[in-house]
Chain length 561, copies 2
């Protein structure tokens, strides 16, 4: 029986030449190690998501040229499956297909078109691609393969309460008397995704009594993180082999082999940690635009966790921390920041922002005459810090990492052009309560209190006025995060949330309205690493100018029924 190799690679969007070099190198390595068929991920030639690059005819010309080169450069004595956009020869419909191509003997021996095109959340595939119309098996050296692309495997009865698609490629391929399913994917990470994949793949295997090979891409491209997590399941659903998550890997499987020898338990907090580290590293490395990363250290837990993740991603010598106390900062804000920087072994500066804050106060004294200090003044403090960090970023080519968490970003507890400044928002998809878990894991992992105890223990505060605490303006984070999770990831409206939690209806309405009203801030936020099933950014498209009167409308609905 042919021996398969699963090439879990990390392509860069648009970099056809580097991606093809990588494909050739992995294919040669796999061939040298005995593989008959080497399988690469979805759209690995152009990287995922290529977005509107796909609308450029010249970009597609270049993809075609890259594929022609691949045919010549790939080892001719093995089969190689790659994912790439190809032109739709029909003059009607979208101009491209999302295809899996089998190279063999210096030519494309087979082509499979993706049928189910995800067009929801972060996915816009129907913007670019025409759906494929058929599902047929292909034969490779006596092996009948049910080759398909990513979403084609997700139209499964057990998983969905509603079928998005008419076609079920899995059932159609199973009916073709295949020996194995082969799925090439660009399937993004979210906490818990490993278990979801286990469940759906093993169900497919058991239902049809057919083994399953899944090759997923790895790496981060701007906000989307791919975990890899490639694997082979036996016909009974059990895991035969699996690749480590969050790194490139070449995995081998002899297609006659059914001995289960993979046990890779996943812990949510470890996956979350490793995803964020990869997200930082790939943003930094793939842009190639920066010499170091920069984090503003407040003494609080968000900036401490961000900084620790950056050090793991880039090394201590490529991370700089700056603390910027004002008159409202607690002594702990400087001490805890200094302790963190010392623990991590990073460059550290202390730049008090008082002089700039005072300058603005005097510059604005006429215009602000006879007004009470309030949010405007608090924001000035936050913005002098943001400006200071950007000055250092611009001067030394440092990537400023934003530290805001998902709880704050949800309700707008953040200052535009202040603490929201930065090129990448590391924690903007992580709720505050989960950041404590992450901090605990970081200290556990490094075997020491890298993140100072006092940082973890202090009550959260923006420290923008005397004695300020987050709990002055917001419910406690356990309450807030529970409401937010039900609204954002759970897609529940306020009445359901009240029923499910027993929380006060006015509180729930206020929080949901705050989320909606602060869309204008998030629209200008740095791209954030997506680690949940519903992150802010490209996957959550909410109007800024709108007036959805949820309380009125829903109360009226309840009166009707």
């Amino acid at each position: 029986m042919p021996s398969l190799s699963l090439a879990q690679i990390n392509p860069t969007v648009g970099d056809l030449s580097a991606n093809c070099d990588k494909i050739v190198a992995f294919a040669r390595d796999a061939a040298a190690r005995g593989a008959d068929l080497v399988v690469f991920p979805e759209l690995c030639v152009c990287g995922y998501p290529p977005l509107d690059l796909l609308e450029s005819p010249r970009f597609i010309d270049a993809v075609e040229a890259a594929l022609a080169d691949l045919a010549l450069r790939l080892p001719p004595d093995v089969g190689v499956i790659v994912g790439a956009p190809i032109r739709n020869p029909n003059p009607i419909g979208k101009r491209l297909f999302n295809a899996a191509l089998l190279f063999e003997g210096g030519r494309v021996a087979a082509e499979v078109r993706k049928r189910l095109l995800p067009t929801y959340d972060v996915f816009d595939e129907y913007r670019y691609f025409e759906p494929g119309a058929t599902s047929t098996a292909l034969s490779f050296r006596g092996l009948r393969i049910g080759l398909h692309v990513c979403e084609d495997m997700w139209n499964n009865e057990e998983q969905a309460d509603h079928h998005l698609y008419e076609a079920n490629p899995i059932d159609l391929l199973a009916a073709e008397h295949i020996d194995v399913f082969v799925n090439i994917s660009a399937s993004p990470f979210a906490v818990g995704k490993h278990e979801r994949r286990n469940k759906i793949v093993s169900e497919i295997c058991r239902e049809h009594g057919i083994p399953f090979v899944l090759v997923n891409t790895v790496g981060a491209n701007t906000e989307i993180i791919f975990d890899g997590d490639s694997r082979v399941h036996a016909a009974d659903g059990s895991l035969i082999v699996c690749a480590p998550s969050f790194e490139e890997h070449l995995l081998f499987w002899d297609s006659g082999d059914t001995a289960t020898r993979c046990s890779m338990p996943h812990r949510d907090v470890v996956d979350l940690h490793d995803a964020l580290v990869l997200g930082i590293r790939d943003y930094f490395e793939k842009t190639g635009a920066f010499d170091k990363a920069l984090v503003g250290l407040s003494g609080g837990i968000d900036s401490a966790v961000t900084c620790a993740l950056a050090v793991t991603a880039l090394g201590a010598d490529r991370v700089t921390g700056i603390t910027m106390p004002s008159r409202y900062s607690s002594p702990g804000s400087v001490d805890d920041s200094a302790a963190l920087a010392a623990n991590l072994g990073i460059e550290f500066h202390n730049i008090p922002v008082g002089p700039a804050v005072d300058s603005f106060a005097s510059m604005l004294s006429d215009v602000f005459a006879n007004t009470e200090p309030g949010v405007a003044e608090e924001n000035i403090q936050s913005r002098t810090r943001g400006l200071t960090l950007m000055a250092v970023s611009n001067k030394f080519r440092y990537l400023l990492l934003t530290t805001g968490n998902k709880s704050e970003m949800s309700v707008g507890y953040a200052t535009l052009y202040g603490d929201m400044n930065g090129g990448l928002a590391v924690l903007s998809d992580v709720y505050k309560t989960d950041i404590y878990t992450l901090a605990g894991y970081i200290n556990e992992r490094d075997g020491a209190n890298v993140i100072p105890r006092s940082t973890i223990d202090k009550p959260p505060s923006a420290e923008l006025r005397p004695g300020q605490l987050d709990s002055d303006s917001l419910p406690d984070y356990d309450t807030l995060d529970r409401i937010l999770r039900l609204y954002i990831e759970g897609h529940r409206e306020y009445d359901d949330i009240v029923r499910m939690t027993g929380f006060d209806a006015e509180l729930v309405i206020r929080i949901l309205d705050l989320v909606d009203q602060n869309e204008y801030k998030r629209r200008q936020a740095a791209p954030g690493l997506r680690v949940s099933t519903k992150a802010f950014g490209m996957g959550r498209r909410v109007p800024i100018v709108m007036n959805w009167q949820r309380a009125d409308a829903i109360q009226r609905l309840e009166t009707r029924t």
Copy 2:
């Protein structure tokens, strides 16, 4: 023959209750004035684009309740066509249809589902909607109507070099022996759209010998501006009646009447002006979050035009201008700003930013020791201005309008968290060369040099270092804008642009690479008013982290051929 009324209304996204009140008021008015059938625009019940509000089942419940109320409240003796999202009863496919509903006698008498779902540029309809499967005529008091929704009329051979869709609803409806086409639209404005509509509608009329009623929505929702431009064409394609653009209007047409009596020539600069005014006004009024608009005045043409547009949109008493000179500002920057403010009759402040700039210089002196002044210092100036404007915005609930133009935003000639600050980018879809035309029209329109001559005549400069001119870093704007138009609106790659313009290939590559590399800035830009066929923002989705090596790839292509 029944008399029709075209109700060109301005709904607010999500505000079901206000939108339905407006529909009822217009329908009653039309009925009182003799209409038999009143036609409203696409999705007028929920506003366009509702985006992910459509994913909330409770929002759809509320739409259903609003439609049930409409049935009771609409005048029972006339027919009323409205656009609304309705549930897909089939458990397979997207959960909604984008529908046109005919109300008559207190109930929904007919329902038409949109078939062609635009999923390109700013449109994401396949994210939410299942395409309708059929095109059939409906009868209303002896009139056979070919009712359809927006995109269903745009699959026309003369217009497209490539057919996006299999179905052609126009041909199918024409075959149903109809007396009139009725199209309900949410068709956005772009400069020249009026003429494009004239062309496509009159071609349809002539091809089939059938008159055409088009009812388009009006108003701006965040970045998208709808111009209205509703009209009736005779069977020979000539315009019978047409509504004024950029305002609500109730238009009447007796379906037996073929007398051409509409002549509404459109001038591009006037449309552009009126679109921007509407965009500012609707953002301001529909959010309801602001007391005034605020513009930072540099003495340059962009801020002057932005400010003049704001005064036309909101009135002089709701606009404030602030000039913020630094040591590198020319004397003209303050004098021209003061003259503009006086001409417009607005509140005006002069807040020199020197003290804040000096504070940052001293705060950063240790960290910046032994470095040369450069972009970091220039950005500090821009950011102290941005911070000052935001302080005033926060203190007094002023909407800060950003003044950057499309040429600058394209190549990143703008400072994040500095001059890019603001809630709405008024000119970010207008090239610099067009801003001069706009300034000329504003002065022509107001019969006086509202925008000072010296503002129009001075060479463009950011004034961030001594003697700085835009032309130090960029080609002249005629050259730059020509390249940008071909790349952004024209979707041309550098080799085509070089062939078409004769410009130096290195220059063209440098400009196109600058556009791509500055996506990270635009991702954090304020939403901008869309007035072209390709604006930055939601309609142009480009990866931040990518490495498309256009020069290498395209040169390699040319070697091949």
